[in-house]
Structure formats: structure tokens, C-alpha cells
């Protein structure tokens, strides 16, 4: 899976969990500061990424990811 596919899936998942239109989600969007993710929603995002990509993420490291582009890089690294 290339990065652009990962990116669009991630944005789709974020849109679902945070109830945002994908058009509002940019690569630089910070989950909390720009998209309003609560701490519960942050955990939900991790679970949703794991399910979407069929991967298992180190929760502590995953919680440090703050932006969409950060998530893309993180998932990409997990897949590889």
C-alpha cells in the first residue's frame, strides 16, 4: 500500500470517528488542536487504524502521534 492510499484511508477513518468532513482534514491537522479529538476519541482512532490496516500498534508510541501526516508515517512504518 502506498502512502497516498494510506493517507486517504486515515482521513476517512478520522472523518468517521471525529464526525468531520474529509475536506476539513489536512495533512498538518493536529487531532486535538485542529480536529477537537478528546482523549477517548484518540483511543478510538488507534483502534480504528488497527482495524482498518490489520496492524497492531504500540499504544504508547501511537498516542504520541499528533498529526495526520504523523499517523501516515506511523502506519506506513507498521505496515513495512
Amino acid at each position: 500500500m502506498d502512502k497516498s492510499e494510506i493517507r486517504s484511508k486515515i482521513k476517512y477513518v478520522i472523518g468517521q470517528i471525529l464526525e468531520k468532513d474529509v475536506s476539513e482534514i489536512t495533512d498538518d491537522s493536529n487531532f486535538v488542536f485542529d480536529l477537537g479529538a478528546s482523549s477517548m476519541q484518540s483511543l478510538q482512532l488507534i483502534a480504528a487504524f488497527e482495524e482498518e490496516f490489520g496492524i497492531e500498534m504500540d499504544q504508547e508510541k501511537a498516542m504520541e502521534v499528533q498529526t495526520v501526516s504523523g499517523a501516515v508515517d506511523f502506519v506506513s512504518a507498521c505496515l513495512n
Partner: protein, 726 residues
């Protein structure tokens, strides 16, 4: 009497720093904002971000409120903005409730918006470790760049009860009553307990501030703000650590001297591991809590043992006028409590006033025959409101009475509520303070409530009442009697001291044995006995003869801190032969106890059998700077730890207090017909040591143990000394 403020002596004057001025300008916006933005709020009830906003609304904040929430269109029916920079109106104060990881982003936007005052509620900063500390540093850099000031992070918030604002920017459960007590706390959790405690007792606050990690605005800035705050009469401070002790002392002194507002402190963390690691006697005795005690006392700060004591004293200051003297009248409806109160009053240093004939006649005429009309006045068990009225009025009018204590015990006929109302009524218009103690709990509750609502100090126990009154009395007398003038000696030889210290440090020697220590003390004109160093037994004999018998012989080594421990001291050497033997013994003993240690020789001084031994010392505290110690020597310091401290620079009156306040002072002062000793010489030594400590920050610890004090007029001299450099 001229008062030279502590501030004049301090080269690091906090008031001159740019950040202090920035804070001074911004704190007004923080406490009296016309508009507030809660940045990072949400719609999840029971969370801090929601509750903060809700509390501001609930308290009926008089300004404009802007929720900032990237996830919501509105919070509590108030339109929300996605970013603080989207707000199309000036914002005076921002409350940040975002998670720590993104606070810097919010702070940056606040800076861009021109917001000058911020309260950062969020946790996850220096209290969690290095990552958190870095986040805090980032916030400070942004604040400096935009000339902003922030409270926190990791705090409960701030409250201003002024009806012009009504700001509850905190996640405390309820807004406190309006009052005249300013409360500052380093612990947010304690704040909530204090608020609940105060609410039950109708204790009101002017300002209530949890300052958390104090990464930017510290308690010092807030003290200065409250100094000038017209709504604040009394200042309470809860601290867990004293970061800048000198600044705290200075702030308190400025407040007390300029405004007369009392400063009460509750400082936790009384146990101390630091003292155990010290090399000198002074160092081991001067634990951080002892130094805090001394520093607070010196600055006029009233240190409290617990929350209850703090508020007991605070309400005395806040609600009632200061008494003119410690002469009190006790009015009670029961003999036993009257006696208890009398006992407590006397033990706190209060005095029972003697009534005038007029007062006595009044009581005799109108009180029952079985009543006690002398002080304490017992209006007896069946007393109702009218009898209390008479007794209180009579005592109030008596010129010899400057404070009234009213005790009530709930007998079956006691009309508690009516008496409470009567006390409130009768005391209006008088300038003498009235304190009350309705003893009990359940039956007296409603009466106590009446007293508390009407700002009559009430104490569950007469003992607390007496202690509080005594503290108020001593604050009042201290305020006007303290002379802070610091003497500077111009006859000191700084060059010699500098040279000794520099040479030692160049050779990595941090422990200065007696010879060098005495040389330094001599340069600062402390009285010393000349000594000679011997490097052979023959030299020892010759030196001893030259000095004159008897002599004391001590090992001289930069590696031996406690000479007696290694049997390196021999007293009362009376002949040259003894001197030769003593020399050999000393070297032998030291070689056994500390083989291989470097010895510079044996130091020989005259032995003086007269005089009293005292101990003097310096310890450099990380927070308060150099602290001078004094005590009687020998067992008085070893067993009883009977010592006193003062933070340098020590004023003349502080030096005198140090001498007077040790329990064994009587032994120096000619008790029971004994000799008086030269305390003036001790005072001079204290002041010179203070100056030495201020002039040479390289001195970490210094012990003069003992200073032999001769009889009055005959001076004193240093019999042994050591110095530890840093």
C-alpha cells in the same frame, strides 16, 4: 526609628527584573478581565474543560465569555470558536484547558491575538518529568516573546469574588463568598478542600489563586499584587517548596511595612534529609525547616501549623480591629470553661484586665449575686441574651480592656441564637475586637452560623481563640518595633580572605582547617587567639612555652572535619615535656583512626578555662542564601539543639533577638546571681559573620565551636573554627 528595608541590601532586586514588571502590568487583566476565552473546552460534562466554562457562567461573570473548541459549534449555548484567533473581539484573559501536548499551539495563538494574561489549567508538565519540563520551557519562551504572563500550568484556576467581576475560572465546585482574605496555593487539590472548609464557616475570599507549577507567575508576583489589592486585608499562602526565599522574605516585609497586611504561611515538607549530609555542626543543625522558621519569623511572616490554625488567625485579622494591647476580658456562662480560657490566655502571654471600679459596680448592680464579677466574668448558667449584653457592654466600655472573649455553653435555658444575635448587635460600633467560643457542636451550630455570617470570629475551642488573639497581638507589636538596619563594618580585610579562598580552591581544597579558618576570621576582626603550628615534638614544646601554659594542642589537617573523633585534641597541656608527648600522641591517634591522612602539623593555642562556650556558624541555604546560627555550646547544642538562626544580612535587632531567644539565654544573662557574660561581643561576632557570608559566596559552611565568651565587658575569642568552601 529609621527602617532600612531588606530590599536595599539585596543586589538581585526582584522588582527591577523585566518579567516582574510585565507581570505587574498583566495581573490586572488576569483578575479583572472584560473578556475571557476558555481555550480547548468541550461539551463533555464532568470534564475539566467543560466545568471551567460552566463555572464561569454559573458565577455570573460580568464580562464576555468565548468558548474555543475545534470540535463544537457551541458550549452551554454559547457560540464556540474553532481557534482563539477567530474571535473578533479583544480578549483579556485566556484559560487553557487543552491537553499539555498542544498547549503551546494555543499559547502561540493567544500571543498572536494580543492576549496578555493566561491561566494554564492543564497538567502534564514539569510534574511528569523531562518531557513535561520541556513543554513548560516552550510555554515560557512564547510568553516572553509576546510579553504575556501565565499562571500554572497544572493548577486549579483563579477566582475573583469582586462583584464587579465575579470570576470563577477554576474547576472548584462552588464560588466562595466574597471576603477580604487573599489565598494563594501551590496545591490545587488542597484548594478544593479549603474552599469547602471556608464555605461551611462563611469565610469569604477576595482572590483565590492556585498557581500550580509556577512556571511563570510565582507566589512572589502574586504577593505583590495582593499587597496593592484594595479588596484584600489578609494574605494566606500555602507552599510546598520555597524557590526564592529571599524574594519571599522581601515581599512579605514590603507588604507588612507598607500596608500592615499580615502574611500567613503554611509550608509543608517539614522533614529534611539535607541536614544529615552536612560537614559542620551548623550544617547539621540548620535543616531547611529550621531555616524556614527563622526566615519567616525574621520577615514577619506568621507560620501556621495547619489549615485550621491558618484560618483561625486569618479571621481574627480579617473580621476584627487589631487590639491595642493584650489585656482581655473573658465573659462566660460557666466557670469551668472560664478557667480553661484563663489558663490558655495566660499561657499564650495574654493578660486578664483588671476592671475599673465603675465596671465592677455596674456588674455588681445588674448581675446576679452568684455571678462572678471579676475577670473572667461568669454570668452563670441561666444567663440569657440580656445578661450577655450587659457583660459585653460593660467590658467594652472599660478602658483597661482591649479584647473580649465570649464563651457560651449550651444549658437548657440558653437562648443560643438570640445571644449570637445580641453579640453581633452589641459589638457594632466598637473598635475593640470580640472573639467567641460557643462550646459544643450540634446545639450551638445555628448560633455559630449567625456569628460566622456576621463576621464575628468563632473558635470551637477557647485555646484556639487565645492563640489566635496572641498571634494578632504579637504581629501588631512586631510591625512597629522591628528595626531592620544592617551594620556594615569597614575595618575588614577582604583581600586576605579572597587570597586564602582562591588559593584553597585552586588546590581543590574545600575544607579549611583551623589555621586558615582563624586567619579568615581575624581578617574580619573577629576576636581570635593567636596560635602556632608545630611540625616536630621539639617545635611543639617550644611553641607551647612561647604561648604560655596551659595550652590546647589540635591536629591540623584539611581532611579532618571533627578532630575529637580521631582523638586529635589534647587539652590542658601544662609543661614542655607534656607538649612533646602530646604532639606524638596526636599523630599516633590520628594515624590509627585515619591512616594516610595528610597532616599539616599540630596547632597550639592558649587554653582559657574561664568563660562560657557558645557556637556560631554560617550555612548557605539554596533558597535563603547564607544563614547565621547561634547557640550555647556543649550539651546545649549537642542534646537540646538550643540554637537560633537569622538569614543574612543580619540586622542589629535580629542579632540581638538571636541571642535572647535561645532557651539558655539566662545562663549568659546573669540569672540567679550568676555572672553576666559579654553578649555585646557575641552580637558583634554575629554581625561580622553575616557580613563575611554576604561578601564571600564561596563559604558554604562555617563553624566557630566554641567561641569562648568572657564576663561582661571582657570580650570573647574564637577557640576553634572550620570553614567549608563550595
Amino acid at each position: 526609628m529609621s527602617l532600612v528595608k531588606f530590599i536595599a541590601m539585596d543586589p538581585f532586586n526582584q522588582l527591577m527584573t523585566p518579567r516582574f514588571q510585565v507581570h505587574k502590568n498583566n495581573l490586572e487583566k488576569l483578575f479583572y478581565p472584560r473578556s475571557v476565552a476558555v481555550v480547548g473546552t468541550n461539551n463533555i460534562k464532568g470534564t475539566v474543560p467543560y466545568d471551567i466554562l460552566y463555572n464561569i457562567l454559573k458565577a455570573e461573570f460580568k464580562g464576555i465569555l468565548f468558548p474555543v473548541s475545534p470540535g463544537e459549534k457551541s458550549i452551554c449555548s454559547v457560540r464556540a470558536y474553532k481557534y482563539v484567533i477567530d474571535i473578533d473581539y479583544p480578549v483579556d484573559l485566556a484559560i487553557l484547558v487543552f491537553p499539555a501536548q498542544v498547549c503551546h499551539m494555543a499559547m502561540e495563538q493567544c500571543g498572536q491575538k494580543g492576549i496578555k494574561a493566561v491561566v494554564i489549567i492543564s497538567a502534564g508538565f514539569k510534574e511528569v518529568g523531562e518531557k513535561g519540563r520541556d513543554r513548560e520551557t516552550q510555554l515560557k519562551m512564547i510568553a516572553e516573546r509576546y510579553e504575556m504572563s501565565f499562571i500554572g500550568p497544572n493548577c486549579l484556576g483563579v477566582i475573583n469574588t469582586d462583584p464587579a467581576v465575579c470570576l470563577n475560572a477554576s474547576f472548584a465546585r462552588k464560588m466562595p463568598e466574597e471576603g477580604t482574605i487573599g489565598f494563594l496555593s501551590q496545591s490545587g487539590a488542597l484548594c478544593t478542600a479549603v474552599l469547602d472548609y471556608a464555605r461551611a464557616k462563611h469565610i469569604g475570599f477576595s482572590k483565590f489563586i492556585s498557581f500550580g507549577n509556577k512556571a511563570d507567575i510565582s507566589e512572589i508576583d502574586l504577593l505583590y499584587y495582593l499587597k496593592d489589592d484594595e479588596k484584600t486585608k489578609v494574605i494566606l499562602l500555602y507552599l510546598e517548596e520555597v524557590s526564592d526565599g529571599l524574594a519571599l522574605m522581601r515581599a512579605a516585609q514590603d507588604i507588612i511595612i507598607e500596608t500592615g497586611k499580615p502574611v500567613l504561611i503554611l509550608k509543608s515538607g517539614r522533614t529534611d534529609a539535607g541536614a544529615s549530609a552536612a560537614a559542620s555542626h551548623t550544617g547539621s543543625l540548620a535543616g531547611s525547616d529550621e531555616i524556614c522558621n527563622a526566615a519567616f519569623k525574621q520577615a514577619g511572616i506568621i507560620r501556621c501549623a495547619n489549615i485550621e490554625e491558618m484560618f483561625n488567625i486569618a479571621i481574627a485579622f480579617a473580621y476584627q480591629p487589631l487590639p491595642k494591647s493584650n489585656q482581655i476580658a473573658i465573659i462566660t456562662n460557666a466557670g469551668g470553661p472560664g478557667v480553661l480560657t484563663t489558663d490558655a490566655a495566660i499561657s499564650e502571654g495574654l493578660e486578664l484586665a483588671t476592671f475599673t471600679e465603675e465596671t465592677t459596680l455596674l456588674f455588681k448592680k445588674y448581675l446576679p449575686a452568684t455571678a462572678n464579677i471579676k475577670n473572667p466574668v461568669d454570668v452563670i448558667g441561666d444567663a440569657r441574651a440580656d445578661r450577655y449584653n450587659l457583660a459585653i457592654t460593660g467590658a467594652m466600655s472599660d478602658p483597661g480592656v482591649d479584647g473580649i472573649f465570649v464563651i457560651l455553653t449550651p444549658q437548657s435555658m440558653t437562648d443560643i441564637d438570640t445571644i449570637a444575635h445580641e453579640i453581633v448587635k452589641v459589638t457594632e460600633g466598637y473598635t475593640k475586637p470580640v472573639y467567641t467560643s460557643f462550646m459544643g457542636e450540634a446545639d450551638v451550630r445555628s448560633g455559630v452560623d449567625i456569628l460566622q455570617r456576621n463576621k464575628i470570629p468563632h473558635y470551637i475551642l477557647p485555646e484556639s481563640m487565645c492563640r489566635s488573639f496572641a498571634r494578632v497581638c504579637s504581629f501588631k507589636s512586631d510591625r512597629y518595633e522591628r528595626n531592620l538596619q544592617v551594620k556594615t563594618f569597614s575595618d575588614v580585610d577582604k583581600k586576605t580572605v579572597q587570597s586564602i579562598i582562591l588559593k584553597s580552591l585552586e588546590q581543590h581544597i574545600t575544607f579549611l582547617s583551623e589555621e586558615k579558618a582563624v586567619e579568615i576570621l581575624e581578617a574580619y576582626r573577629l576576636p581570635i587567639i593567636q596560635g602556632l603550628v608545630a611540625n616536630t615534638s621539639a617545635q611543639a614544646a617550644e611553641a607551647a612555652a612561647k604561648i604560655g601554659f596551659p595550652v590546647v594542642m589540635k591536629v591540623l589537617s584539611d581532611e579532618i572535619a571533627h578532630k575529637s573523633d580521631v582523638k586529635g585534641v589534647i587539652l590542658n597541656v601544662t609543661t614542655q615535656m607534656e607538649a612533646e608527648k602530646a604532639y606524638q600522641s596526636i599523630l599516633h591517634n590520628v594515624n590509627i583512626s585515619k591512616p594516610g591522612v595528610k597532616i599539616q602539623g599540630v596547632y597550639i593555642t592558649k587554653m582559657v578555662n574561664a568563660g562560657r562556650e557558645v557556637i556560631l556558624g554560617i550555612k548557605r541555604d539554596p533558597s535563603f542564601g547564607p544563614v547565621v546560627m547561634f547557640g550555647l555550646g556543649g550539651i546545649y547544642v549537642e542534646l537540646y539543639k538550643d540554637v537560633s538562626f537569622s538569614v543574612a544580612p543580619v540586622s542589629e535587632s535580629a542579632a540581638e533577638s538571636m541571642i535572647h531567644e535561645i532557651k539558655a539565654f539566662g545562663l549568659l544573662n546573669g540569672m540567679r546571681g550568676m555572672e553576666k557574660y559579654d553578649t555585646a561581643s557575641i552580637k558583634s561576632c554575629i554581625l561580622r559573620l553575616s557580613q563575611l557570608a554576604m561578601d564571600f559566596p564561596q563559604i558554604q559552611e562555617l563553624d566557630i565551636n566554641p567561641l569562648i565568651v568572657l564576663k561582661e565587658g571582657s570580650g570573647s575569642f574564637v577557640a576553634d573554627a572550620k570553614i567549608v568552601l563550595q
